[in-house]
Symmetry: C2
Subunit: 258 residues, 2 copies
């Protein structure tokens, strides 16, 4: 069986996001939600989700609601993080942040609506497994945001394991859930997801010159990132499916420059 | 079978809320969430949920997670509504609002966490029905908040049907779902829930002198509230179970003074 390339998966996802209709009763709020979602993000969490399902021979179309739910949770967290009451970031990916464009009040409830829409999508599956993965990851992520807000940055790895890692782990777990991978076969996948999360955060810190990189220096951060990338590749070698696209995604994360 | 009194149901609920443990990873954020939840609210949505289940002879203990999820969604909406970016209310039920007590940033993410915890509780059931009712109601409610934020108050009834009504309807729907009431028997219950929502909002407007009462006068608002209360009682008469406690709850809503 031929697995889909990253570009093919990305196209599937972007087409789905373009056609995505939010709940009608949200009315004009949808515009602010769409604006936040359209910001040209890397879509790494949903792509990871789609690629894991595709590697198992599971139609990625069936995973699109779960993958999109992950992107909505990520987007919700950015919209709220950017608020003046939190990080107070006026610019996100080269454009005005949602609260700058639509006002603080609309940004608060647009974030709320993105989170609720994520659960609506996750609940479109017959069984509650995907939604349960998503809710646990969301709660862990919010726990990480709280550590950030109160300035408890002493242990960057613990913080990023929550704030970033939990959603990466959910990206893999949701794919395994939809693809019906037995619990017994999930162990290497979980380890893989954890290392991809660490890799992603370390490269973020290196590019921004903060977090782990600011505390331990760029060389040490690069070394830790490379080690996480290597561990991720090792875990991929343990699973008995074609992981070439996933290996490419991990390679892209290690060498990205934005 | 003897059905439980309002006081018995309230005691069950308060005991459950006291013992409620939020997700461990939320850490110190739980304090702000607990503060918001402890504010001495009327608990009308969860009580309605428990009473509907109890009227069907279904153990209300089994409905406590769903009932509590409703209260968490309601509390989340209050925490965010009170923010300076929205209604800017410094006082809620005679105490400092959550953002005044804990800061705006913590209040934003405490609200987020209350919403996510609500879904965690709703997802503790084997099937996704309760969580689906909750997510649709939450999205409708947020749609109502949006109308409020942009000042689209031309049609108070449409606004309150979303902002207040949807969660009342979910309170009844979640009870029917947990109690396993067949779809065919739910029609009068849905009509009942809608009228209770209208009654609640109209009395709120009368007590606050705003919304429908400000626009149409106190007498007209009282007349509309009485009509909604009467319709609610008529719907209760249509169902074949003991609705005496529900009738008492509706009577309490009609005559409440706070």
């Amino acid at each position: 069986m031929r697995i889909r390339s990253t570009d093919e998966l990305r196209e599937l996802l972007e087409r789905y996001l373009e056609d995505l209709a939010f709940t009608r009763e949200l009315g004009g709020l949808s515009e602010a939600m769409q604006y936040a979602l359209d910001g040209g993000g890397k879509r790494i969490r949903p792509l990871l989700c789609l690629a894991v399902a595709d590697a198992h021979g599971h139609d990625p179309e069936a995973v699109l609601p779960a993958a999109t739910a992950l992107e909505l949770v990520h987007t919700f967290s950015l919209v709220h993080d950017d608020l003046p009451a939190l990080d107070d970031d006026d610019v996100r990916r080269g454009r005005a942040s949602t609260h700058v464009r639509f006002g603080d009040g609309v940004a608060v409830i647009a974030g709320d609506a993105l989170l609720a829409e994520a659960f609506r999508l996750a609940l479109s599956y017959p069984s509650p497994g995907v939604a349960r993965e998503l809710v646990q990851a969301t709660l862990g992520m919010i726990g990480g945001q709280y550590l950030d807000v109160i300035g408890a940055t002493a242990d960057e790895l613990a913080l990023s394991r929550l704030k970033t890692g939990r959603l990466f782990e959910a990206a893999v777990a949701c794919a395994l859930e939809v693809a019906g991978v037995p619990e017994a076969d999930r162990r290497p996948w979980k380890a893989f997801a954890a290392d991809v999360g660490v890799l992603f955060q370390l490269v973020d810190d290196i590019l921004d010159g903060d977090g782990y990189a600011a505390r331990h220096g760029l060389d040490e951060a690069r070394r830790a990132a490379d080690a996480a990338g290597e561990r991720a590749h090792e875990h991929l070698a343990e699973v008995g499916v074609d992981t070439s696209v996933l290996a490419e995604l991990v390679g892209g994360l290690a060498t990205r420059s934005s």
